[in-house]
């Protein structure tokens, strides 16, 4: 068995709930986030943004701004003279600073650096931009029509059928069997169309960075990001810098949820710094965050499912049309892959279309593509259950994928935990708790892949025997605690002997972004292996000291031991003792591991929610919420629960109130937390997390990613609860009071 395969064991530290190492810094205000640092001689940056949804930039006159006292640099796209050859990078550059056209309300067109925030903003007012306003389109279905305004011609992939607008950039198809034949075997077939609104990740910390770039091409960047290596590589590629000359340090990060896996202001800040010859701090306002960054795709979806009276699904199809925003996107195929992933289906076909519109480029948001994929599928299954008088959990169990199931997206599943979550839901008291008037209970399942990717970890055994662990992934929800726990577990030392830090890009090799629920899995794997590497070295040192063969040394309980009576009789050498004589036995001791951690385990969840609908106002109240999810192995259960609860809360927002609202003019109407309505404390009940542990065979401790799956089921679970409470099927998100009331009245 390879060493990265799961081996059952009794844990001493993994699975406990120690205090997080960054806790004191974060409760005292000492933790340093993106906007919390300064540099000597620092300037303040600010970005001018297009007020138009779609406009040709005829001219930009920066002379008045440049002449202002305190203004040290003004840049436009013309300053970005390096032309990246990769079309993906060209899009990123154009998104960071508009070239020929402003493609959406909020698109950056110029930027300044000045000696104060106020001067910087005054200078923006002095920049004169002449626009030629073009026809725009902000709706995904409208944008697919042949006569729709085209955002950018020539971007269509070879897989798009003829007859669609050039805004449709790609199509992907998944599935197997013959759905039509399947429908003919069904006792009931339901076909419905759904829409979901664009939502924003809504991290509370706006994007922020502090950039220094010299004429010699050496630079330093402090930035809040989910991936500082990605920031380095992208910025270097956009500005024509050598990646090794640009050192990027990740700040503490105030939330990301996928929205900080891209760059927006970082190349701009670096360019301003180079031009001004001084450090430049650039911090987005909330308005900029909403208008220019993030949102997830809005969607328009058709789903058709056939079911027998006994609950067997005989055929299923789904068509997903996802709004990519101002540049070609890449998540519709994820919807097409995820929608039916929880089920064991003989006949299934899905199709995903990626569509450009005059909106900010859609960014990754927690299990990108999966929530809007699950929502219509789980809604139609629920309606079939209602009409065929079937139990929704039993029906899902009947069709649930298991080990050996050929998934709807192709591969055959290894051991998975979906059935375990459904059974846990069935036996939970929530399932049988009584409901009152105007109340309804909804359930839904969700799936997410989870990823691995490039990962580097270094583990240093210090002269006093304590351990310093360096990893390269920003800690977004407690991962330093988890890494310290896994290192301590493997080394057999107390947790307080290990401190984990996030290294800058010059201190470790390439690390993939903190995304895809990869960190606890992949960085954990590398941590365990770096610890094993250090253990091998320490065993050699002990063997050398004892004058025996390293093979004859065992490691457990934080010490080297002779492997058996034949190895010789020596008292154990602790890590402290080995570290103390490291200089005498060959020098400093450090383990490290570099890997592309492939083979992450998929994960499933089942959510259960009770809602009450006010029949007079359409207001929806969430009364009770329970999450059942497979974590593989919960390294720090508190933070696994936190991921379950946080994902559910974001899903609740998406289901009930959150939406990007565009006006006729193509401008975003609600770029603030006042009218972009994320759930507040008084909106939510306690969210009960139930952790299932079906070990991931591809991780030594059985860990699966947990961060993303939790946002997949809530949209459907709430839609099902609301539909049952209201007695009418809701097919558009958000289920805001006007929509619910209209549905009630249309009965």
């Amino acid at each position: 068995m390879p060493k990265d395969e799961f081996q059952a064991r009794d844990f001493k530290i993994v699975g406990t709930r120690p205090l997080r190492p960054d806790g004191i810094d974060k409760v005292t205000g000492k933790a340093r986030y993106g906007a919390d640092v300064t540099a000597p001689g620092m300037l303040w940056g600010a970005v001018l943004r297009s007020p138009h949804a779609h406009a040709r930039i005829v001219s930009i006159d920066t002379s008045a701004a440049e002449a202002m006292k305190g203004v040290k640099a003004v840049i436009t796209r013309a300053d970005f003279t390096y032309q990246p050859d990769d079309p993906g990078l060209a899009d990123v550059l154009d998104n960071c600073m508009a070239g020929e056209k402003a493609r959406y309300d909020g698109h950056a067109v110029a930027a300044v650096a000045a000696t104060s925030k106020k001067i910087a903003h005054d200078a923006l007012d002095a920049i004169k931009v002449e626009y030629e306003v073009l026809a725009h389109v902000t709706d995904v279905d409208e944008a697919m029509k042949p006569d729709a305004p085209v955002i950018e011609a020539g971007r269509q992939q070879e897989n798009v059928p003829a007859g669609l607008s050039e805004n449709v950039t790609s199509r992907s198809k998944y599935g197997h069997g013959d759905p039509e034949a399947g429908f003919s075997q069904a006792d009931l077939v339901i076909e419905r169309s759904f829409t979901t609104a664009a939502t924003h990740q809504g991290y509370i910390e706006p994007h922020a960075c502090l950039a220094t770039l010299g004429a010699d091409g050496q630079g330093d960047l402090w930035v809040c990001t989910q991936g500082h290596y990605m920031v380095r590589n992208t910025c270097a590629g956009l500005l024509g810098l050598d990646a090794g000359m640009l050192r990027v340090t990740a700040s503490e990060i105030g939330g990301g949820f996928g929205g900080k896996t891209h760059v927006w202001i970082e190349p701009v800040a670096l360019m301003l710094s180079r031009k001004a010859g001084k450090p430049v701090k650039l911090v987005m306002s909330r308005d900029e965050v909403f208008r220019a960054t993030g949102p997830t795709a809005s969607s328009s979806i058709d789903v058709k499912i056939g079911m027998k009276k006994d609950g067997t699904i005989t055929g299923a199809t789904a068509t997903y049309r996802l709004q990519a925003g101002a540049y070609p996107g890449a998540i519709a195929f994820l919807s097409a892959m995820c929608g039916f992933a929880p089920y064991d289906l003989e006949n299934v076909r899905t199709e995903g279309f990626e569509v450009m519109t005059n909106r900010p480029k859609a960014a990754a948001y927690r299990a990108p593509g999966a929530p809007m994929a699950a929502y219509p599928v789980e809604s139609v299954i629920d309606e079939l259950c209602q009409k065929l008088d079937l139990d929704p959990l039993e029906t899902r169990l009947k069709n649930a994928a298991d080990e050996g199931t050929k998934s709807a997206y192709g591969p055959t599943y290894p051991a998975i935990g979906l059935k375990a979550t459904l059974k846990a839901a069935q036996s939970h008291p929530h399932w049988t708790a009584p409901l009152g008037e105007n109340q309804g209970r909804g359930v839904a399942c969700g799936f997410w892949f989870n990823f691995g990717g490039d990962t580097c970890v270094s583990l240093m055994v210090n002269p006093d025997g304590t351990v310093s662990l360096s990893e390269g992934n920003p800690d977004i929800g407690g991962s330093r605690a988890s890494m310290s726990m896994m290192a301590a577990e493997e080394l057999g030392v107390p947790l307080d002997q290990v401190r984990t830090i996030i290294a800058d890009t010059a201190s470790l090799g390439q690390n993939e972004v903190t995304d895809g629920s990869r960190v606890t899995f992949a960085v954990g794997l590398a941590t365990i292996k770096a610890a094993r590497h250090a253990i091998e070295i320490m065993k050699e040192r002990a063997a050398m000291t004892w004058g025996i063969d390293p093979e004859a040394v065992d490691w457990h309980d934080g010490a080297a031991h002779p492997a058996g009576p034949n190895a010789g009789k020596f008292p154990p050498m602790t890590i402290k003792e080995i570290a103390a004589i490291a200089s005498n036995t060959g020098g400093p001791i450090a383990g490290h591991h570099e890997v592309n951690a492939e083979g992450a385990g998929v994960s499933f969840a089942t959510h259960m929610v009770d809602t009450e609908v006010d029949p007079e106002t359409g207001a929806v109240k969430v009364l009770r919420y329970t999450v059942f999810q497979d974590a593989g192995k919960a390294v720090h259960p508190d933070y696994v629960e936190g991921q379950f609860q946080g994902g559910a809360a974001q899903g609740i927002g998406w289901a009930i109130n959150e939406e990007y609202i565009y006006g006729e003019d193509g401008r975003l109407q609600n770029p603030g937390f006042l009218d972009y309505r994320v759930p507040v404390a008084s909106d939510l009940p306690m969210i009960e997390p139930v952790i299932l542990e079906i070990p991931n065979p591809g991780h030594p401790y059985g860990v699966r990613g947990v961060g993303e799956t939790s946002i997949v089921p809530p949209l459907a679970a709430i839609a099902n609860a609301v539909s049952r409470a209201a007695g009418v099927r809701l097919t558009s998100l958000p289920m805001s009071p006007p929509r619910v009331l209209a549905a009630l009245k249309g009965q």
């Binding site: 992907s172 195929f333 997206y409 591969p411």
Partner: protein, 81 residues
């Protein structure tokens, strides 16, 4: 030869074949073989793919071994949030 399952829209570019056979003992040979034998797949291969081998998903590791009887499924290149 290894049987490689293509996703629907990719199959359309491989003369409608859901499954194609490629002589390959590892991931690199598989991707090279696909591009060689099915040039219409090249644009997508260049944009990136993920490959599921016996239920585990791989993106990059060329040396990943593939057995003759392995289940090999091509997928769009996965991204996360």
């Amino acid at each position: 030869m290894v049987a490689v399952r293509l996703w629907g829209s990719l199959a359309e570019l491989a003369d409608g074949q859901q499954t194609v056979e490629i002589e390959a003992a590892n991931l690199r040979q598989l991707l090279d073989g696909l591009a060689r034998d099915y040039p219409a797949l090249k644009p997508q291969l260049e944009r990136g793919v993920s490959v599921s081998i016996d239920g585990k998903i791989y993106n990059d590791t060329w040396a990943t071994p593939i057995e003759k009887n392995s289940e090999v499924v091509l997928l769009n290149r996965l991204v996360g949030g």
